[in-house]
């Protein structure tokens, strides 16, 4: 009998796979109750580090061309497609879904990523404007990424939910720190490998597994996070996020998406929530 | 009584469009230099080297070894030209002069409180005179960047003029320290100021600040030299320094010179490259061209 080499699932921070500085982990089981893997129990220090890395990466990422961002997200979809089998396997084992359902979710996740890859060089044309002011000024408004965005990922569907919230945040030039599904983090941690092989600069996307009640408050109160995408689905936590976020006037967007497979679970508004509009005036005259 | 020099009129200096000039530099970087022209270019670049050592830990021994390398870049191959000059702190001018003998390799001395230039003017002038007295053929001075950035152009001009006078027969290179000037407009302005004040060469950097010599900065300075020449008939030389490590970069510099200023500037009298480790990459590329094999550092001397 050939023994398989079991995988250690690590956090993905600053482009590196790291263990939690807490040294702690939580066991994940298959639906049959068998041990599947240990998962890092991310700490607030891991979170702090992730925000630092996100901030450091964000300026360069925002400055890259729309075309390049699109190419990187497209490459991500290619890497994702190439490994769809292993994702289907994880979903089956850890969420107990049928093979067909797992296939459906992986397919939808890849398509969602592709959808946002195609937005990189288009949202500006739709959200930006030239404003016909009454005085002799050339007046234009442009969307700019807000900066570092904290994402509280939905519990289920874990994979499709992660992609649905991560892709629209980073395509406009933000960097993200994601608190993964607490019950089902494995497919997301596996997705980190897709991020790592996609040419996405380290620090633009950071994935942290662990207990939401331990981590969410630190994310919501962090003075160097500019916005929160709250798709966690926990009313009590959501209320707390809303209140804590006021400490530095974070932009908070709460999501209650009933069906992540539906058409309205993607689109321009997912991008729009995490950009700032800058209006510039310049005289017209000789 | 000689007439007073005209005050520097910054408003007459042409503007530079940063995006445009970067594009021009990038498009010239696409020149493919192969075979005979690559070999010729590398040899030319070697003959234009100012081999440099400007460290706190420099000593007589270090300087003598550098001089040996400058005279004979590749032991056993007498066809390789010597470098144009060695560039050292004023303390080592005498040593270098002795080591170089009658080889034709020049001694360039930095002076004027290199690299920061934050010393009183009399000290700058004294240092210059001493370096020249000890035998320096060339003096590399630094401009007062603080004064420049505060708009005290006449003061900067005046300093350059006085240093030029203190040089006597020695040639004066004026270091602009482009990394601290930051904008291309400032680099262009400083170039014209230095040339109007008597610089024989304008030089990008001390090598102690990054960014140092970038293709865009070099092109700005070459264009300034071109306009100066067309207006006055005087040819001023150019020396990029700092961050130039590979043959590819050196050849790119030669392309910039050739296509901006033309044939007359493709000579060590008007173009120098300030570098230390570049020499070995030039030699490695030369050997690769003739042998067809990629090279290993162990086969080239590190002095």
């Amino acid at each position: 009998m050939d023994l398989e080499v079991r995988k250690t699932y690590k956090l993905y921070v600053g482009g590196d796979f790291i263990r939690s500085e807490s040294g702690r982990s939580d066991p994940m089981e298959t639906t049959g109750g068998d041990f599947f893997a240990n998962v890092s129990r991310g700490s607030r220090k891991d979170l702090r580090e992730a925000v630092r890395k996100a901030r450091a990466a964000q300026t360069g990422w925002a400055a890259s061309s729309a075309y390049l961002k699109g190419q990187i997200l497209y490459r991500m979809a290619e890497m994702f497609e190439g490994r769809s089998g292993s994702f289907e396997e994880i979903l089956r084992q850890t969420r107990g879904v049928t093979a067909a359902a797992a296939k459906r979710e992986v397919r939808a996740s890849i398509d969602r990523l592709l959808h946002y890859a195609g937005w990189s060089d288009k949202y500006t044309a739709l959200l930006g404007t030239v404003n016909p002011v009454a005085s002799s000024y050339f007046d234009f408004s442009l969307p700019e990424p807000t900066g570092v965005v904290g994402i509280v990922a939905p519990e289920e569907p874990d994979l499709l939910g992660l992609v649905s919230h991560l892709a629209p945040v980073i395509v406009s030039g933000n960097a993200a720190v994601v608190l993964l599904s607490q019950k089902h983090p494995l497919a997301s941690l596996e997705f980190a490998e897709v991020l790592a092989t996609s040419d996405l600069p380290g620090g633009v996307a950071n994935l942290i597994s662990g207990r939401k009640d331990e981590l969410v408050p630190h994310l919501a109160r962090h003075m160097d996070v500019n916005a929160i995408a709250d798709a966690g689905g926990d009313r009590a936590l959501s209320k707390a996020i809303g209140e804590d976020a006021a400490v530095n006037v974070k932009r908070v967007r709460a999501y209650r998406i009933a069906d992540y497979f539906a058409e309205d679970a993607q689109g321009l508004d997912f991008i729009e929530s995490f950009v700032e509009i800058k209006t510039t005036w310049h005289p017209i005259g000789v | 009584m000689s007439s007073l020099p005209r005050p520097f009129d910054a408003s007459r200096i042409p503007r530079v469009d940063a995006v445009g000039i970067d594009e021009r530099a990038a498009s010239l970087a696409k020149r493919s230099i192969k075979k005979k022209s690559k070999e010729q270019g590398i040899r030319l670049a070697i003959s234009m080297l100012d081999l440099t050592t400007l460290e706190g830990k420099d000593s007589e021994g270090k300087v003598r070894q550098l001089c040996q390398k400058a005279m004979h870049p590749m032991p056993g191959d007498p066809t390789i030209p010597s470098a144009a000059a060695v560039c050292v702190y004023a303390n080592f001018v005498a040593v270098a002069k002795d080591a170089l003998g009658a080889s034709g390799v020049k001694v360039a001395s930095v002076a004027t409180g290199f690299p920061a230039g934050q010393v009183p003017l009399p000290v700058k002038l004294d240092e210059t005179r001493r370096a020249v007295a000890m035998g320096a053929d060339e003096v590399d001075m630094v401009i007062d960047r603080g004064a420049f950035l505060s708009g005290e152009y006449d003061r900067v001009s005046s300093e350059i003029r006085q240093v030029k006078e203190a040089c006597g027969d020695a040639h004066l290179k004026v270091i602009l320290e482009t990394g601290e000037l930051e904008t291309y407009d400032n680099v262009r302005k400083a170039s014209h100021l230095a040339m109007a004040a008597g610089a024989d060469f304008i030089k990008t950097s001390t090598g102690k600040v990054t960014p140092a010599s970038t293709p865009g900065v070099v092109l700005v300075m070459l264009e300034a030299i071109r306009d100066h020449y067309l207006e006055t008939g005087r040819r001023v030389g150019m020396k990029p320094a700092g961050g130039i490590k590979t043959s590819k970069q050196a050849l790119h510099l030669l392309v910039l010179v050739k296509e901006t200023l033309g044939d007359a500037w493709l000579t060590p009298d008007l173009f120098r490259i300030g570098a230390s480790t570049l020499a070995n990459d030039l030699l490695m590329q030369l050997v690769k061209e003739s042998s067809g094999r990629y090279q290993n550092e162990d086969y080239f001397t590190k002095d």
Binding site: K122 | V16, D17, G20, E23, K258
Partner: protein, 506 residues
């Protein structure tokens, strides 16, 4: 006092740049660049090419083939099928069938995926196609490699992403495809023009029948092969080489519901007349005679670089080429001197040499036309300056040229030469510059060079041209709409606006 009177009675014209004693720069042969030829050995070139219809290469019912040659060497490259009326009919029917049976039934996101595939395949085969483009058309490899191919790839990537987002481009409208589009493209950017036409058409759910120019069919045919490699449903893209008659048949075929034409104004007008009253949608991208305006407060060195790129890039075979230069009189001598210097370093020769800046003229016919029009420059009294580069023995070549002392009423200031010839004239005030720039039936592009921000916005606002470049020239991007005013055509390509031509809104 005496000196003033003397000057006032001076009747001789002031000496210009060349005549005055002025220090000269010599751009000679100190350190010549060795030939740096791009290797041709991995280019797949067949002896004979058939028509691409219904997903396959099929021989022409017309039984006719024509030769395509390399304008730099006059060597024949291949024989290419010429589509006759029956072939055009077969192609349009294939496109109709593909539209009805497959393409219109696909989910938009799936259409996008096909277009992504084409983009990727084109990206992977870029080097080969760039060489083919230079061989077939004469443009320098440096340009086909660094401009034509990357932009063509980018067009497919950009439009792939629109396929499932059209509702956003037309809010509150129901968006549907038009059907079969007939597309006719010119010889100056063969593959890029094919990309500009095919990518948006497909993204919006249409199918196409495209006719490449008769002197440059090869890269469109390579694109056809790429469509096969991408498994594009047969008939979605059809490529049918031919000349004027083929184009005419395509335009008048009842099955083509939309026509897109890029080419000369003369032919554009014929097409407009032919499609009148047929209900066919039409976009035209025609000729130009763009003016570059250099103000005295411009960054002059970069302005001259921009002007040189604007007219000598692609041998001046560019509809939006900056073929007129308006210079504020106070800086005319400086600008002319700088132009002289720049022209002296332009390298003309083998398009496949990586150091070539100016390649071959696309055809004998075009060379004759350039020579004739340029002749008017001299005979009408403008002063000519021409680079002194050596011309290869075989092939079609024209040296970079500029004329000074040009007035609005010179023929070279009004007619599109479509070659490396620049007409230089002066102006004194901004209003005069604007008036001269607009005083022409064309209106494709314009350039404005000044360092003053408010002036940029003021002057660009007054340019009657579809694309205005401020402190730059000849910049293209799939996200940026391109098209003309007046007799330079109508309709836009690229950007949100470019989608309009390829959809029905209700």
């Amino acid at each position: 006092m005496a000196r003033v009177i003397e000057e006032a009675s001076e009747t001789k014209p002031r000496p210009s740049a060349w005549e005055r004693e002025r220090p000269a720069l010599e751009f000679g042969s100190a350190w010549d660049y060795a030939p740096a030829p791009e290797s041709r050995d991995h280019v797949r070139l067949a002896e004979r090419y058939d028509l691409f219809i219904g997903g396959r290469f099929v021989p022409p019912k017309s039984r006719k083939y024509f030769a395509t040659i390399n304008p730099a060497t006059e060597d024949k490259l291949a024989e290419v099928a010429e589509a006759g009326a029956a072939d055009v009919d077969a192609a349009v029917k294939a496109a109709q069938e593909a539209y009805q049976r497959r393409w219109s039934k696909l989910k938009p996101a799936e259409r996008g995926k096909y277009i992504y595939r084409i983009a990727r395949l084109l990206q992977e085969q870029s080097r080969e196609l760039a060489i083919l483009e230079s061989m077939d058309g004469g443009k320098p490899i440096k340009e086909s490699r660094d401009v034509d191919l990357p932009l063509a790839v980018a067009h497919f990537f950009y439009h792939a992403g629109w396929a499932d987002k059209l509702d956003y481009a037309f809010p509150r409208k129901t968006v549907s495809p038009i059907g079969v589009c007939g597309q006719i493209i010119p010889w100056n950017f063969p593959l890029l023009m094919a990309a500009w036409k095919i990518a948006p058409a497909l993204a919006c759910g249409n199918t196409v029948v495209l006719k490449p120019a008769e002197t440059t069919p090869l890269t469109s045919l390579a694109l056809a092969r790429i469509c096969q490699e991408a498994d594009l449903p047969p008939g979605v893209v059809n490529i049918i080489p031919g000349a004027g008659e083929t184009g005419g048949a395509l335009v008048s075929h009842p099955g083509t519901r939309k026509i897109a034409f890029t080419g000369s104004t003369e032919v554009g007008k014929l097409i407009q007349r032919a499609t009148a009253g047929t209900g066919k949608r039409l976009t035209l991208e025609l000729g130009g005679k763009a003016a570059n305006i250099i103000f005295e407060d411009a960054a002059l060195d970069q302005a001259v670089d921009g002007v040189v790129n604007g007219i000598y890039f692609n041998q001046g075979h560019v509809c939006c080429a900056g073929s007129r230069l308006l210079v504020q009189e106070s800086v005319i001598d400086t600008v002319v001197a700088k132009l002289e210097h720049r022209i002296a370093t332009l390298r003309l020769g083998d398009p496949l040499d990586k150091n070539t800046d100016v390649g071959a003229i696309n055809s004998k016919m075009q060379l004759d036309r350039i020579t004739e029009l340029s002749g008017y420059g001299e005979s009408e009294g403008a002063r000519m300056y021409q680079s002194s580069c050596k011309l290869p023995e075989k092939g079609y070549w024209f040296r970079p040229t500029f004329f000074t002392g040009v007035a609005q009423s010179h023929r070279i200031a009004r007619e599109e030469i479509f070659g490396p010839v620049l007409a230089v004239m002066t102006f004194r005030t901004p209003d005069e510059a604007v008036e001269k720039a607009n005083n022409i039936p064309y209106g494709l592009s314009a350039g404005v060079w000044t360092d003053k921000g408010s002036k940029i916005f003021k002057i660009t606002a007054k340019m009657r041209a579809g694309v205005v470049w401020a402190n730059t020239f000849n910049k293209f991007d799939p996200a940026s709409p391109f098209g003309g005013y007046k007799e330079s055509g109508f309709g836009r390509e690229g950007g949100v606006h470019g989608l309009r031509a390829y959809v029905e809104l209700s």
